[in-house]
């Protein structure tokens, strides 16, 4: 067992992947920043100076304090406070956690749907392919954000505000996952079409393996690298979509804020001069999305698959 892991580690260290990562400054910086943000989000309960979910700790007298460095700041709140008197640093840490959770969750769901439908469409072809890809085309032509907004609106209208707020995380994962599956399905289908013609598939057929086994055990592993690339970019897209939905009031409630709902709640106070409530979470969101996008660009260059980029 140990020898196997050592050799795998050695193989990784000698791989082209690691070689090109070491030489790309942008990739190293992006990865470090992302790792830092993910760690900060995961350990938010340990790192955050205050618990933003605990209403007993909030003092309304502390509301709208500016960040340290501006006049009127309180050193207890390094990034200032929001309109309800919550420590902005803590809400941002927890908010990043919620945003990342929804981003990853939505991509896992869309990868599941996309891989399944993409494999079916590409391998089976014919009517299955025509129907699935037509649905994907129509959904894409409507723009994924529009689909997400409409589904979100319908859910909100049917569940009511309170109920929707309680299950918002799962709703958002579902909405964004369902809205964006065509992106991955198209990529998978394109690679399956290329793989299907190769000899190993013929060999597997001759040996009498079933369709399901060929699809999942033989073709799927060979289509993983483009899926990996597009999934990275899709995490960034999902985080932006979540922020947009929350900003429209169709996402996370203010009591359990994501970065998007923090920006929304801060926006109401921007005219009174409290720019930090909205712009600091905004900056965190942009940095998060930017480093994921840069990593995705780098991954694409390394793996160089012919990708559909939407």
């Amino acid at each position: 067992m140990t020898t196997a892991t050592v050799s795998r580690w050695d193989r990784f260290r000698e791989s082209f992947f690691w070689y090109s990562f070491k030489r790309d400054k942008v990739a190293i910086v992006s990865f470090s920043v992302l790792l830092l943000m993910v760690l900060a989000a995961v350990f938010a309960p340990l790192l955050a100076p205050a618990d933003p979910y605990d209403l007993a700790l909030i003092n309304i007298m502390n509301s709208e304090l500016p960040p340290v460095g501006l006049s009127g700041a309180d050193p207890a709140f390094p990034l200032g406070t929001d309109a309800q008197g919550r420590d902005l640093l803590s809400t941002i840490l927890y908010g990043t956690r919620v945003s990342l959770m929804i981003g990853f969750g939505a991509v896992v769901l869309q990868a599941f749907l996309g891989i399944l439908f993409g494999l079916l469409a590409g391998y089976l072809g014919g009517k299955v392919d025509a129907v699935l890809m037509r649905i994907a085309d129509v959904q894409l032509s409507f723009s994924t954000l529009m689909v997400a907004i409409i589904v979100g609106a319908v859910f909100k209208a049917s569940f009511g505000n309170l109920m929707f707020g309680e299950i918002a995380i799962y709703m958002l994962i579902f909405i964004i996952g369902v809205a964006e599956w065509p992106q991955i399905a198209r990529t998978v289908r394109a690679s399956v079409l290329a793989e299907k013609k190769k000899e190993y598939v013929d060999a597997a057929k001759v040996m009498g393996f079933g369709t399901r086994r060929i699809m999942f055990r033989h073709i799927l592993p060979n289509t993983l690298s483009p899926i990996f690339v597009i999934a990275t970019v899709q995490i960034a897209n999902a985080i932006i979509s979540e922020a947009a939905l929350s900003f429209l009031g169709l996402g996370m409630p203010e009591t359990q804020p994501s970065l998007g709902s923090l920006i929304k709640s801060g926006f109401d106070y921007i005219q009174s001069g409290s720019w930090w409530i909205t712009l600091i979470p905004g900056l965190v969101l942009v940095v998060l999305v930017l480093v994921i996008n840069l990593l995705g660009d780098w991954l694409r260059d390394v793996m160089n698959p012919r990708l559909y980029k939407g």
Binding site: A130, R134, V138, S141, F142, S143, L145, M146, I149, I150, A153, V154, K156, A157, S158, A236, I240, A243, A244, F247, L248, G249, L250, I263, F267, I270, Q271, G273, W275, T278, L279, G282, L285, V286, V289, L290, N293, L294, D297
Partner: protein, 349 residues
């Protein structure tokens, strides 16, 4: 060509049919027209009678056919909030959104073409690299955040005192980084020109145009990086092609080659992608209009959601669906006309 035409148009009808079924399902699943019409005191028998009279007890298919028939005649029901036909409400709000989209499109066209062409002709110049870097960052910034930053900078204004203001250069640097503010960031202003029908235009008055600036720039900011990258990529490909090399060998001037011969073939794919993107802008208008309280259809839709104004939500879906289907079909048809080598999708070659 005829087969292509028939296929695309029949597909458009099919999509419209699916949209209408979804819209009907939403209306049927969410809205209870009875609750809006009668009070609590009405007895169950009376409710049942009204239900029967309205045809709510009919089979689903009959109800859908009635819904679709009314929709075809331009009747999508009355809005609960406005107590007017929903299509009338949408017609009142549509001009504001259209003007926003027109403003943003103008900005996109006049900025993306020169920048994209420049970045393609001189890919190594620092200015090109700067533009490409900015557009990478630009893609990562959500449209509502751009809008908020613009409001902070140009509507509220920023006063900077990072430098000692008692020295001349310190004051100058402070002034350099400070912004005036003062641009309007709320609504369309009160001086609108009445054009025709429900169209009130902000294009003809000073305040109307001032109100357009920040929303159009925000809306344009989301599409601009995409178009710059697209134009650059297409143009670079065209510049590699044989006929451009031939034109160079013939000794034509660089300007003539770049702008007359190469640009023409660059714009073909750009126009088709652009047509589709303008449809996609509808989703972003919802965000932009929310930030700027712009009285267009996007804001109207969002308000309809918070008010649970089901008929208006459904009507918006149908209208937006129609806009999408029409633009996509037109773009496909135009592309098929200009480029006859386009293959029919779903048909074996």
């Amino acid at each position: 060509m005829l087969a292509f035409l028939v296929q695309r148009i029949s597909q458009a009808f099919l999509v419209m049919f699916v949209i209408s079924v979804i819209a009907f399902a939403i209306q049927d699943g969410l809205g209870d027209p009875l609750q809006e019409m009668v009070g609590m005191s009405v007895s169950e028998e009376e409710r049942e009678a009204i239900r029967e009279e309205l045809g709510l007890n009919d089979p689903m298919v009959v109800q859908y056919l009635r819904f679709a028939g009314n929709a075809l005649q331009g009747d999508l029901g009355n809005s609960y909030f406005y107590s007017k036909p929903t299509l009338e409400v949408i017609a009142e709000h549509l001009p504001a959104t259209l003007e926003l989209v027109i403003g943003a499109s103008l900005i996109i066209v006049f900025l993306s073409v020169p920048i994209g062409v420049y970045a393609a002709i001189r890919p190594q110049a620092w200015l090109s690299k700067f533009f490409m870097g900015v557009s990478t960052v630009g893609i990562s910034i959500p449209v509502f955040l751009t809008a908020i930053v613009l409001i902070q900078l140009f509507s509220i204004g920023v006063t900077v005192n990072w430098f000692p203001s008692d020295t001349g250069w310190g004051q100058w640097l402070n002034d350099f980084f400070s912004t005036e503010g003062g641009l309007p960031s709320y609504g369309r202003g009160d001086e609108l020109t009445h054009l025709f029908g429900t169209w009130e235009s902000g294009f003809f008055t000073g305040t109307g145009l001032m109100h357009l600036v920040l929303p159009s720039v925000s809306l344009a900011s989301i599409m601009l990086p995409l178009f710059i990258r697209l134009i650059r990529a297409e143009m670079m490909e065209v510049l590699q092609s044989d006929y451009v090399r031939y034109a160079r060998a013939k000794g034509l001037s660089a300007g003539r080659i770049n702008f007359l011969h190469a640009l023409k073939n660059t714009m073909l794919p750009v126009i088709t992608v652009g047509g589709v993107q303008i449809g996609i802008m509808v989703a972003y208008t919802i965000l932009t209009e929310t930030v700027f309280q712009w009285p267009g259809v996007g804001l109207m839709f969002l308000e309809a959601i918070t008010r649970s104004d089901i008929p208006l939500i459904v009507a918006y879906l149908m209208v937006v669906g129609l806009i999408f289907v029409v633009t996509n079909t037109l773009v496909d048809l135009i592309y098929g006309l200009v480029n006859p080598t386009v293959k029919l999708t779903g048909k074996k070659a």
